[in-house]
Symmetry: none
Subunit: 85 residues, 4 copies
Amino acid sequence: MCVSTLPPMTSPLNNLPLYRQLADLLAKQIEEGKLRPGQPLPSELHLQQTYGVARGTVRMAMRDLRDRGLVVTVHARGTFVAEQG
Amino acid sequence: MCVSTLPPMTSPLNNLPLYRQLADLLAKQIEEGKLRPGQPLPSELHLQQTYGVARGTVRMAMRDLRDRGLVVTVHARGTFVAEQG
Amino acid sequence: MCVSTLPPMTSPLNNLPLYRQLADLLAKQIEEGKLRPGQPLPSELHLQQTYGVARGTVRMAMRDLRDRGLVVTVHARGTFVAEQG
Amino acid sequence: MCVSTLPPMTSPLNNLPLYRQLADLLAKQIEEGKLRPGQPLPSELHLQQTYGVARGTVRMAMRDLRDRGLVVTVHARGTFVAEQG
DNA sequence: GTGGTCTAGACCACA
DNA sequence: GTGGTCTAGACCACG
């Protein structure tokens, strides 16, 4: 309901779409090692609730991360940090 | 194709731009209480079709009303009559 | 976590599987006219929460009702009481 | 509203999602030369109405075609058959 | 109980 | 008047 629980954006470069902001936030966690290869990301439902966005927005972020090669998605299992991350 | 199907205006103010005529028309409905605080305005598409104007015209009218403080727009939800109407 | 919160069943038929109990309960509501032809059933999520059952249970109950010809399911729209109910 | 104006599927292999069926249909037209390089595809709105699907479905089909390298999309202009098609 | 597909329809950015 | 983003919430396939 709130537009975002995403960290306040202080940079002027943040006119990015919400899904991109979410993707970047998760990408950062992967690159920093907070999410490690093989480890599952939070579920789509969890991400929706955590960040207060719609599921479609979460899915767009996931697709973004897949396109960057950072994660792999397994149907009915979850989305995981890519091994060669 | 965007010739005004706006209700005939008998006032001499018709030299105003279309978007302004539309904004004034909606403002009048708000001020008269036909559209009440918290209530959604008709969608952009509906306004286009009802008044036979182009989408940009509707958007300019909405911007006008926002600037006057008469309505608030919520992304992906709609435009609503402001509470302090 | 899926222990039945279904309304207390006083009948001896409680040895039936949960999904069957739920299907019977909904079938009864249809036959009694509490749910009328063309009317949507509660959503899968609502039924899960209302009766404290898992999603698969709800889906099995829906399948059961479809097999009995009591409801029709329309993709992405919902499940509705069949017209010849 | 009808599920599809897509040609009746006689093959048993057609358990494909709707967006994929639409993408394949357009891909076929491109490969057969009915849509030529540089030429615009029908607009998303037109495709929605022609095939009776939701916009999201059309957009998924467009993404599919972009991923296959068959089309390129230009914001606010349209989607065009790729030149090296 | 996850991700996958689909509907319906809103406003936005751009030309 | 196009494509882009976003909401909300439905049912489906799979494990």
